[in-house]
Amino acid sequence: MALLEVKNLGISFGGLRAVNAFHLNIEKGCLYGLIGPNGAGKTTVFNLLTGVYRPDEGIILLDGENIVGKKTIEINKTGIARTFQNIRLFKELSVKDNVKAGLHNHYRYSTLEGIFRLPNYYKKEKEMDEKAMKLLSVFDLDQEADTLAANLPYGKQRKLEITRALATNPKLLLLDEPAAGMNPNETKELMETIRFVRDTFDMTILLIEHDMKLVSGICEKLTVLNFGEALCEGDASDVLHDPEVIKAYLGE
């Protein structure tokens, strides 16, 4: 059974049909790409998957469980984490605290234990610190643990967002244009990191990307979205050579 199964998904904004009859099947462990021209509805699909928008119709099955109608918080607890096209970090928190915020639901102690500094506070904070540093070192951010997130250079901010999402221990990781604004070197490094994350965390990853080098370099499967509809899907190499896709998107 696929980890993520989306059937007949649709949403309209006023008169605009942003996503229509969309379907998607992602096997566990797959590195899946969602591509398409600007305004095709890619980010909207992410927002539907994470409960930011509620679809007009369709179902979304994560591990067989329908998550349509659930709140964003619940969906994260069920196992979907994401990053944002326009970076959304906790800017006034340190890099490490951004990751620790991601660990929020996995290392629990009560507010009173925190205020009165009871033993559980020290125990859990220590565990969180260790886990956060471990995750940060995967992304080569451990040197910047105490830096304010706002002061990180752009490429590292993108990486921190991925780290934070990973901290919530998801089954499915959604990355919205992770390489946007990165230079070729950073992009290349990011590709390796994404592959590394998939391999070490046994993660399933769905990513939106305009950078064709990245897409063809790491995605195993692709779906092309055009005007809110799936134009084509399948193995990355097949999709990228589909004449219709080239006409609609790549040929521009």
């Binding site: 994470t50 930011v52 709140k71 964003t72 918080i73 994260n76 607890k77 984490a81 994401r82 944002f84 959304r88 970090l89 906790f90 800017k91 006034e92 928190l93 490490k96 605290d97 951004n98 620790k100 915020a101 991601g102 929020h104 639901n105 290392y107 629990r108 102690y109 507010t111 925190g114 205020i115 009165f116 500094r117 506070y121 859990k124 904070e125 220590k126 969180m128 610190d129 540093m133 643990a145 105490d146 250079p153 752009y154 934070r164 999402a165 901290a167 919530t168 604004g181 230079n183």
Partner: protein
């Protein structure tokens, strides 16, 4: 190693804050015993403790939670009146002032915290700056309710009225406790400067430890980016309500201190109205939004300065108004926020190109 250093850094910063308060307390004690503090200034010390607690608690809402409250004096008012009512009723029942005061504190804080929850539930669930409007209304409503509230007690029990003390219909042995616009007279004067400073330290302990804990991190994450906080499974409504009700409860503590320092407690625009709420907000803004230590210092300077420089006190409100408007415009108006974001984005892009 690095982790140890980090923990030490926040702990150190917190300890400095406590130390500043204790040092100032000691300085005042020495100056008092040397007779260097006028009785006028001495009269200000207990209210000052209340203001400091209010400023610190408001900073929890404004700086840490990132919501604007324009009715903080309303929560102070609730704490003041509920606790004064309690202390007056139990003045004979609980003769030990310390015990009575402890209960008064708990009751004042609980009542104000409850009001915080009641105000926060509708206002904080909405996305947007609704809290400012709702708290503004709350502050004014509470003040007016207290002014038409009459409560008396006689051998038959408590009597309530919203008309006047006569319609309470008290027996000859009865006593009016809350007398409408005349407020509560004869609250035991249990607040002292020492008690006030201890309560400042308790407030700091609660607020600073909250900030540097799992819940505080969640609250600040919501402040920095609500959508991202939701995306990582943080319950936004829960933590907003938590921060705001703790803030309201601490404002209630400020009210308890304030009430137990007055022979007659009345609710006037000056002490529990909009003016007071704004004055507290000025402390927070001038001390630095999110800067707890700054709130303390701003409260001290702005409370004592007009008394030390009496001649300037005419200008005080003018300075308040100008600074407040400027800071408010800069911090809160959508145009200014947009402008700031555009410029920081530009700056970021430029930096990126350089790389």
């Amino acid at each position: 190693m690095r982790r140890m250093k980090k923990i030490n850094k926040t702990t150190k910063s917190n300890l400095i804050t406590y130390a500043i308060v204790i040092a100032l307390f000691a300085a005042v004690q020495i100056l008092t015993s040397a007779g260097a503090i006028s009785s006028l200034l001495q009269g200000l010390l207990v209210p000052l403790c209340a203001y400091i607690i209010l400023a610190v608690s408001l900073n929890l809402t404004v700086g840490i939670l990132g919501e604007l409250s324009l009715g903080h004096a309303g929560f102070m008012c609730v704490g003041a009146f509920t606790s004064a009512f309690f202390s007056k009723c139990t003045a004979e029942l609980i003769p030990v002032a310390g015990v009575r005061y402890l209960f008064a504190l708990l009751i004042g804080a609980a009542a104000a915290g409850l009001c915080g929850i009641l105000v926060g539930i509708p206002a904080l669930r909405l996305k947007g700056d609704y809290l400012a409007i709702v708290t503004l209304a709350f502050g004014e409503i509470i003040k007016n309710v207290v002014n038409i509230l009459f409560i008396g007690r006689d051998s038959e029990g408590f009597h309530f009225s919203t008309k006047d003390s006569l319609s309470l219909g008290l027996l000859p042995d009865g006593e009016v406790i809350v007398n409408g616009p005349q407020g509560i007279t004869g609250t035991p004067k249990d607040s002292t400067f020492t008690v006030g400073v201890i309560l400042i330290l308790v407030t700091l302990f609660i607020v600073l430890n909250l900030i540097h804990s799992r819940s505080g991190r969640a609250i600040m994450a919501i402040r920095d980016n609500r959508i991202a906080a939701e995306s990582i499974g943080i319950n936004v409504t829960k933590y907003k309500l938590m921060a705001f009700s703790i803030s309201a409860a601490l404002a209630g503590v400020g009210g308890v201190i304030y009430a137990h320092n007055l022979a007659t407690l009345t609710a006037q625009p000056k002490n529990f109205g909009y003016n007071m709420s704004i004055m507290i907000l000025v402390f927070v803004v001038l001390g630095g939004i999110g800067n707890i230590r700054g709130s303390i210092l701003a409260a001290i300077v702005l409370t004592l300065l007009p008394e030390l420089l009496r001649g300037l006190s005419d200008y005080r409100m003018l300075i308040y108004a100008v600074v407040l408007i400027a800071m408010m415009l800069f911090n809160w108006s959508p145009k200014a926020i947009e402008w700031r974001e555009r410029h920081s984005a530009k700056f970021k892009r430029k930096k990126q190109k350089e790389v």
